[in-house]
């Protein structure tokens, strides 16, 4: 601020004496200042020319060039993130002994999904689910066909996720580049300006993606694993009544006794990277007479995006299904709850976008403990002894297994 105010002083000072140069131009009697007079005269001329050019639209095209340069430099950073993520994937593939790794990466890099027709809403959820599952299965199959048969499930799942990240980064990079080039080609300054304004956000996302690939390659839990971690920790403090069973693809459940209630805990099957199918799992469980009869609450625990300024790891409770899926899984639980008239409770563990997809921080681990307390309170306050409660740990279960082991 000091420099700013002193600058202001000088500006004011020079404005007060602005008449000087013209004074000098008139009186040629004074000597020794002609050099300075020329400097002033030339700068006035230059600024006049520039302001005339500004009216002719030159300023805008100059501005366009500035925006373009800045967007380009940031795009280069995103491109370097893409290359880094690709090399993480290829290194991992090479390590596992895959020979045609480049072909596999290239094939998945440009993979795309086409969203279903939305002007006709009937059965859109089913159609969306069909597309999403086909995509998921297709990539998984491509990976497992390329890998040698002795590679374990967690490694395979993690690799699939890393390749999906490569795909996401590639799509983001290509889309931003497309907007920039289109804007420059059509000399559309506003289009370039939009990209220029948005690119800092995308840069953040791209960096988070790159870090996510690194984290997943190591098999570390990510912030989004808070839900499954809460499910695991809850199952550790409860008394298991059954073995863990896989009920839907990549999704497991166990029945426990906790606070004299029967608690069914559902989570994705760890420790590989997967979110499982919690909706389908609840749907199948509800068909079992013993669970549907005494069911008095469905509690979902999930990582949620915090607002800027909020602290990471704080928890909050609410109602509804806490789940970040595109719809198919969430709607299943909502429909069941509506049909059986079972209350839906949600516990959220808050974190930023970067924290959600990169390694879990200590605050989130503390948040998980808080979330467990909230779940216990909900069970004690809102249900009676002898009731059945379904608790779902929603999220990616990378780095987190289940108890008791299957």
């Amino acid at each position: 601020m000091v420099t700013l105010s002193s600058m202001l002083d000088i500006v004011l000072y020079s404005v007060a004496y602005a008449a000087w140069p013209f004074d000098f131009l008139n009186s040629s009697s004074r000597e020794g200042s002609s050099f300075a007079v020329w400097i002033i005269a030339i700068s006035i001329l230059v600024s006049t020319i520039i302001s005339i050019l500004a009216f002719l639209g030159i300023a805008q095209s100059m501005q366009l060039r500035v925006w373009k340069n800045q967007v380009e430099s940031r795009l280069r950073i995103i491109e370097s993130y893409l290359h880094e993520t690709e090399s993480i994937a290829t290194n991992k593939l090479k390590k596992l002994g895959v020979e045609r790794h480049e072909e596999l990466v290239k094939r998945i890099k440009d993979f795309f999904l086409i969203s279903p027709v939305s002007i006709e809403p009937i059965d859109i959820i089913k159609r969306l689910e069909q597309i999403l599952r086909t995509g998921e299965k297709h990539i998984e199959k491509l990976v497992s066909e390329a890998l040698p048969s002795n590679v374990g499930e967690p490694v395979r799942k993690n690799l699939t996720t890393i390749l999906a990240i490569v795909n996401g980064l590639n799509t983001l990079y290509k889309y931003l580049r497309h907007l920039l080039l289109l804007g420059v080609k059509t000399r559309n300054a506003m289009l370039v300006a939009q990209v220029w304004m948005l690119i800092p956000f995308y840069l953040r996302i791209a960096k988070a993606y790159r870090d996510a690939a690194e984290t997943i390659a190591k098999g570390l839990p990510i912030g989004d694993s808070a839900g499954p971690l809460a499910a695991y920790k809850l199952s550790r403090i409860a008394k298991p009544l059954s073995r863990i069973e896989e009920i839907a693809e990549d999704t497991v459940y166990g029945v426990y006794e906790l606070e004299r209630r029967r608690v069914v805990i559902i989570k994705a099957k760890g420790p590989g990277s997967t979110v499982g199918r919690p909706g389908e799992a609840v749907e199948k469980l509800i068909k079992r007479e013993d669970i549907a009869r005494g069911l008095s609450a469905i509690i979902t625990v999930d990582a949620a995006l915090k607002f800027e300024g909020e602290e990471t790891g704080i928890t909050a409770e609410g109602v509804g299904v806490a789940m970040g899926d595109p719809g198919p899984e969430k709607i299943r639980i909502e429909r069941i709850a509506a049909r059986l008239r079972v209350p839906l409770y949600a516990v959220a563990i808050k974190m930023g976008l970067e924290e959600a997809i990169t390694a879990m921080s200590e605050n989130v681990v503390k948040g998980v403990e808080d979330a467990i307390n909230r779940v216990l309170n909900l069970i004690k306050e809102r249900t009676m002894p002898g009731d059945t409660v379904i608790v779902i740990g929603v999220g990616n279960t990378i780095g987190i297994s289940q108890y008791p082991t299957a």
């Binding site: 000088i10 967690p154 921080s361 681990v365 467990i372 307390n373 216990l376 987190i400």
Partner: protein
């Protein structure tokens, strides 16, 4: 030299200095060097004893731990894996950090078990 010429030159100088300071500021913002350390927490579910160690690839929550409980001899289990972001060693040497006492964390865990 006239005084107004000095003013003019001073203006140029001041704006140059401002630009340099801003540039340095942006560079220092970029150079915020932080070190990530991955920590594995092992816990004894019998007596709630916990201990931490550096993460090794292959560790996951629910896996058998490396240690046995020093209090009751039970096999410990990995209870959490998290990242700790710390300032670089250079900064750590300059500024001493106060660590949170471990008893607070353990106290919290015991609370859950009591309920």
């Amino acid at each position: 030299m006239d005084s107004w010429l000095i003013t003019y030159l001073a203006l140029v100088l001041v704006s140059l200095v401002t630009v340099i300071i801003l540039a340095l500021d942006i560079r220092s913002m970029r150079k915020k060097q932080r070190v990530k350390r991955y920590i594995t927490v092992e816990k004894c579910y019998k007596c709630n004893y916990t201990r931490t160690r550096i993460f090794e690839e292959g560790d996951y929550v629910g896996a058998k731990g490396k240690f046995t409980c020093p209090q009751c001899g039970e096999q410990m289990t990995i209870d959490a894996v998290y990242v700790k972001v710390e300032d670089s060693v250079k900064k750590l040497l300059l500024i001493r950090r106060v660590r949170e006492p471990a008893s607070r964390r353990e106290g919290k865990e015991q609370q859950i078990h009591e309920k």
